[in-house]
Symmetry: C2
Subunit: 131 residues, 2 copies
Amino acid sequence: MRVDEQTARQLLSSLNFKDGLVTAVVRDWRTKQVLMVAHQNEEAFIRTMVTGIMHYWSRSRKKIWMKGETSGHIQRVRRVYLDCDGDSLLYDVEQKIAACHEGYFSCFFRRLRKGKWQIYLKRRFNPSEVY
Amino acid sequence: MRVDEQTARQLLSSLNFKDGLVTAVVRDWRTKQVLMVAHQNEEAFIRTMVTGIMHYWSRSRKKIWMKGETSGHIQRVRRVYLDCDGDSLLYDVEQKIAACHEGYFSCFFRRLRKGKWQIYLKRRFNPSEVY
C-alpha cells in the first residue's frame, strides 16, 4: 500500500505527534502476529506512506532508518490503522525473513511463565551471519 | 495472570524504561485483535503484575490510572510478552465491554482506504451513556 506525497502530507493532520513522535505497532499482515514496536516522526511516516516500505525514527541514533537497510529484512506495508487519539498507528506488513535483529520472526519472543521470561519462538536466522 | 510483588520487582530489571516509560500494546486474549497502546512507568507495571488488572501512566494527566476506573471496562491480564530491547510489553487481556472511550472494542477503529481514514468497526456502547 502506497499513497502519493500530497495525500501522505494531508494524513499528517490526523496524527497527534508527542515529542515529535507517534508509536508504530507492526503486525504480520497474514497471521496478525505482533512483530515489533517502534516510533515515527513526520518524515518517517511520509517516507513509509510514499514508498510503501516501513521507515522509523531511531530514538537512540536520532535518525530515520528503513527497516531492513542492513539486513535486507524489509517490511512492505499492506494496511494501516489509526487509534482514537491519533498518537499510535498499527501497520500490517509483509515481513521479509524476520523482524527481530536477534533472529526471531517477532521481537516479542519472550513470554512470562511462572514469574520468568521464557523464549517461546524459534530463531529464523543466525544474527552473526546477517549483521 | 498475577505475580507476587517481589517477583514483579525482579521483573523490572528486564525492562528498559525510556524517560521512565515502557510502551504497552494490548490485545484481546482470544482473537489477538490489538485493542490499544499506552504507557507504563515502574509503578503502573508493578500494580498491573500484582493485581492482574491493567494500569497505565497517563502522559497528559501525569498520573497512574487503572483502565476502566470510570467506565468499568477493565482489562484482566492473561499473558505478557517482552520485546528484544525491553522497552515494549505486549499484553493479552480479557477486555470488559470495549477498550475505546469512543465506544469501539478497539481504539484502532479507523483504517486507511483510498487515502482516507475509514471507520470499519461498529460501536459497542454509546460513550455519552458511560462517561
